[in-house]
Amino acid sequence: MTKFIGKRLVNVVITLFIASIIIFTLTEVMPGDVAQMILGQYATPESLEALRAQLGLDKSPVLRYRDWIWGVMHGDLGTSLSMKGVSISNLLIRRGRNSLFLAVCATVFLVPLSLVLGVIAGLREGSWLDHIISTSSLIALSMPSFISGTFLMLIFAVWLKIVPAMSSIEPGANLFSVFPRLILPIVTVSLVLLGYVARMVRASVIDASHSDYARTAVLKGLPRLKVVWHILRNALMPTVTVIAMNLGWLIGGLVIVETLFAFPGLGRLVYVAIQRQDIPMIQASVLLTSAVYLLLNLASDIIYTFLDPRIRY
């Protein structure tokens, strides 16, 4: 087990290393001159030259990559170009915390709900309730977040006026105290996974109830509740992996949802950095999100091996 985790960790590190090279190379070929961007149109050639030297832009790409990755390993991600002088590490921590709050709330909301829906649909296979749940979860999972978010916004914020349409919050505000503003983004970012997990749970419940052990349990006259317990124990195991594996999806979903609702999170930071061509910020935020994504995948693998004693590495 330890060996397996160790091996997978090494894998993650290698993948991240390759990712850092890809990200650096891509931002390297980005058109536009950083020094010109900072100093503006009317800078003199001398001052441009001086700034390039100060930023280390006159060094070779290999040396600059080394400096960058050295900084990353020591927690120094440099300063933002578009927000003058702001330390990227601090910004990432602040925004990351906001996004994490959103992601945790979404998980707490969607996991129990999708389990319940999936189990009900699976145990009542073919009934009208099953049709309603299956069809609406298919609709939920196929809808891009900015569409479902817009519908929710129009209904609950513009029409019914129960919650505000925008989720912008002041820096340093307590997220719990502004919770009503976060309801729409939380529900929106959950919807795709909610539909997906519900369908997965339904399918594995159906699989389990058609299995030999379930039939034996019914035939030997076990009460319905005990049969259901047998089915659920076996059906829910693969679901845990499905959930863990797809939590990474939340990262992509957060970019859209945070942009739609103007929520100051990591996803919107990536978007703004790309829009403003803020190279150090792009490098840091993309690398961080990739790392989170990879670690989530690793976590799902480890959980899977813990849950299923048949799998041994």
């Binding site: 980005m30 900015f146 569409i147 990739s290």
Partner: protein, 284 residues
């Protein structure tokens, strides 16, 4: 001629089986409808999608402008109608690209096996370990947003996933006797891959392609919404949604109609894809 008749009959049979799924039929109808709308676009649209009507800015839906107008007084109905073109073209080209790339990679690595297979699949794993949207945003942000960029990037993002499906299908078919027979006959590797193997993995590839088409619409619309896809003033559903955001509370029609358009198309594609999956699994 006989072959053609048989192929048509075959297709007819598949459609008949698919019609057992009512959701699949709903999906197919809506998709056909949007394709017709896209083809007839300029005939249906009452105005040019980029024509300004400065005296009619932010008009709510009326007989003159069925879906209302935007901040330049452009007719939203015409913009939604012609916006169907970009989403259909982008998503289908991207799916086609990823299908060609992915199935070639899957065929070659699955058939050859060995170290090439191992190396290529490891690389695919690495590519797949990044969130698709993030990767697409990074590439388009760097090389500049364009329709061509959207097609390429979505094609590249989904190719490894299709390669995976193609490869595992190949590994199964490879064991069959007719492949042995072809080897004994002395057919070239290329012949075996593309003439013997490929026709036998259409099933799983078709299922995967239909699912990917849904994702491609999802992703291209999302990129359009972020302003990284089709550029203004060309109408594109994702872009229309982006333009509507700032006016959502007092010109909601600018958002409602493009949103309904995208929703109907993605849901239709997923209904159809689900029916195709059930058909392949023998549930229909």
């Amino acid at each position: 001629m006989g072959l053609l008749v048989r192929k048509v009959k075959n297709l007819f049979n598949v459609l008949k089986r698919l019609s057992n799924s009512s959701l699949g039929m709903i999906g197919m109808t809506i998709i056909t409808l949007w394709i017709v709308v896209a083809l007839l676009g300029p005939i249906i649209a009452p105005y040019a999608p980029t024509a300004y009507h400065p005296q009619d800015r932010f008009n709510p839906p009326s007989w003159k402008y069925p879906f209302g107008t935007d901040r330049f007084g452009r007719d939203m109905f015409s913009r939604v109608i012609l916006g169907s073109r970009s989403v259909l073209i982008l998503a289908s080209s991207a799916t086609a690209l990823s299908l060609v790339l992915g199935s070639s990679i899957g065929l070659i690595t699955g058939f050859l096996g060995g170290i090439v297979d191992e190396a290529v699949m490891r690389f695919m794993d690495i590519l797949m370990s990044f969130p698709a949207l993030l990767f697409a945003m990074l590439i388009l942000g760097i090389f500049g947003p364009s329709s061509f960029g959207v097609i390429t990037v979505i094609g590249l993002v989904y190719a490894p996933r299709i390669a995976r499906v193609a490869r595992s299908a190949v590994l199964e078919v490879k064991q069959k006797e007719f492949i042995e027979a072809a080897k004994v006959r002395g057919e070239s590797k290329l012949y075996i891959m593309f003439v013997e193997l490929l026709p036998n993995i259409w099933g799983p590839l078709g299922v995967e392609a239909s699912v990917r088409f849904g994702y491609a619409i999802f992703l291209s619309a999302s990129l359009g919404f972020l302003g990284l896809g089709v550029q203004p003033p060309t109408p594109d559903w994702g872009l229309l949604m982006k333009e509507a955001q700032s006016y959502i509370s007092w010109a909601p029609w600018m958002a409602i109609f493009p949103a309904l358009a995208i929703a109907s198309l993605v849901v239709a594609v997923n209904f159809l894809a689900d029916a195709i999956r059930k058909y392949e699994a023998g549930e229909l």
